[in-house]
Symmetry: C2
Subunit: 356 residues, 2 copies
Amino acid sequence: MFKEVKKHKSGARTGLLNTRAAPVKTPFFMPVATRGAVKGLEPPEVADTGAEVLLSNTYHMHLAPGEKQVKNLGGLHDFCRWPGPILTDSGGFQVFSLSNIRKITEEGVVFKDPASGRETLITPEKSIQIQLDLSTDIIMAFDDVTGLDPNKDKVREAEAVARTHRWLLRCIAEFKKQTKNMPKAKRPLLFGIQQGGLDKKLRQKSLEFVQSTEVDGIAVGGLSVGEPLKEMHAMLEFLSPLYDPSRPHYLMGVGEPINMHFAIEHGIDMFDCVLPTRNGRHGSVWINGDKKLNLNNSGHTSDKGPIDKKCDCHTCQQGYSRAYLRHLFKMADPLAGKLASIHNLRYLQRICEGYR
Amino acid sequence: MFKEVKKHKSGARTGLLNTRAAPVKTPFFMPVATRGAVKGLEPPEVADTGAEVLLSNTYHMHLAPGEKQVKNLGGLHDFCRWPGPILTDSGGFQVFSLSNIRKITEEGVVFKDPASGRETLITPEKSIQIQLDLSTDIIMAFDDVTGLDPNKDKVREAEAVARTHRWLLRCIAEFKKQTKNMPKAKRPLLFGIQQGGLDKKLRQKSLEFVQSTEVDGIAVGGLSVGEPLKEMHAMLEFLSPLYDPSRPHYLMGVGEPINMHFAIEHGIDMFDCVLPTRNGRHGSVWINGDKKLNLNNSGHTSDKGPIDKKCDCHTCQQGYSRAYLRHLFKMADPLAGKLASIHNLRYLQRICEGYR
């Protein structure tokens, strides 16, 4: 499934991940298409930034249009017109991000839509079934993400880790059951997720547990959820010698350039994050040197130059000036968010390409 | 400037309009980029629908970013990255559409922004100056558009026509003064606008007046402002033998397929309208036979097919299904409005191409 190609003295490594849709060189960054589209962008425009793998979300696609609908329409690739590999997050992150509307039991998680009152139960088995219906190429196990400060709630974190492990075993069992008749080359990959918040012992224990199973890839979950940068980096440093080198290492939800550099140099191969597109839609773009620029600033009103003279993205290459982009943001034209998203996505892809 | 190439027995004619940016075959339809962008679309995407001339708006560009700003940034073509011909409406239409916030005097029109209280005076001279600063290729004269039922307010309509004529002479004088040092090949075109509401005598008088001046093109203004279809068609029929065949005939603000067919077969060469893009953003698309389809309808939930199997637009050719588009509209993804806009723009371009 995965082959480490070269280990660099910086700590970074390059590799090749074989998915049933296509092989992909690591390290790579996945743009986020939560509901089946990277907001405002067409698939060829996403691919044009250098992206090869798209991320979508199990929970949101389950709500609309529903996995059965997507399956009847030929699967997520056909539905979204993205022929390349797709990874779906399992819905586990929503246990954290939608914590005000969910209830955790051993069976799974019940989400309650505040508007309609409709309740949705996601179990580990259900998450796997949905992802198989979506025909995703990289399936994520369903986990219990706390995002808590472990010093304040050690018990909850330890419980969450233990539950994540029990759920992982249920995910693996369900995955095996559902895919037993698939030829190996047609089978999606299944990744396990380690948790443990900012508790090193828990993290190590969790990583060892996940790596003791047959999962195809190792994901680090529950970081970049509000903790100080230093603490996240310390944890990545701590984990770095502990990863199984024969499997890909995916740091979930990370996409700040500074963190991507740090993570890649500490053994991480895969990333996803809403930042490049969400920030882009709000006018915030990265420029040379990982600096941030706000395109809404009136200082750009007369600026003929592109976002970044050194940038090879479509937005900069087509000659859209900072002045024009600022005008589009002021007019709330959706073109503004699209062009800034493209720039930011390309920025992160260049970081990955630099290591590859 | 303009050459009639062929007159068809349907009443339609084909021709060639020479603008300083490029020659354009008639009949043609201009997508509307009110504030310097066709909402959500990049210029190459607009051009890909078959559009060759873009329409922008003098009043709105004056408000933001301002014509001096655009001039300093190299003009509208550079600013918007649209190398082809650009026509700007004069602001006259806003005399009608913003009638609740404007005051007409002989000098011009004062618009008062309800939010800021800021007052903006547009005179015929000012409108020409703004359009020259924007570096538009086809300048429209500043007119007094009533949109009134002439049976209810004959006096106001007659006054508006007389004022439109006086303002046209002021526009021509200002245009000559400002362009006298320009070599002829570098000079933009100036179009006059005839008015008269639904009063045939007034319309005829107005057309004769506009055609008695040296303007490069004849525009029919103040139609498609809420009057019954039959009355608009009757007026187009009435005017059809009266146009000067040596100049192009531009029907302002019209873009319903049925009206375009009728107008082209009654001597019209040019169109613009917000309908294809505005309707598109709301999920309304034209399909074969000038029928309308609402992509928001739940009936499309399982529909694998494109908007229109016979359509050659980007949206239909890329294989985006009605089901996917419906999903995007439900999720309020800006991609939805963009893809539907492209389909509608292409629909109207095909009508024009059919006659060419």
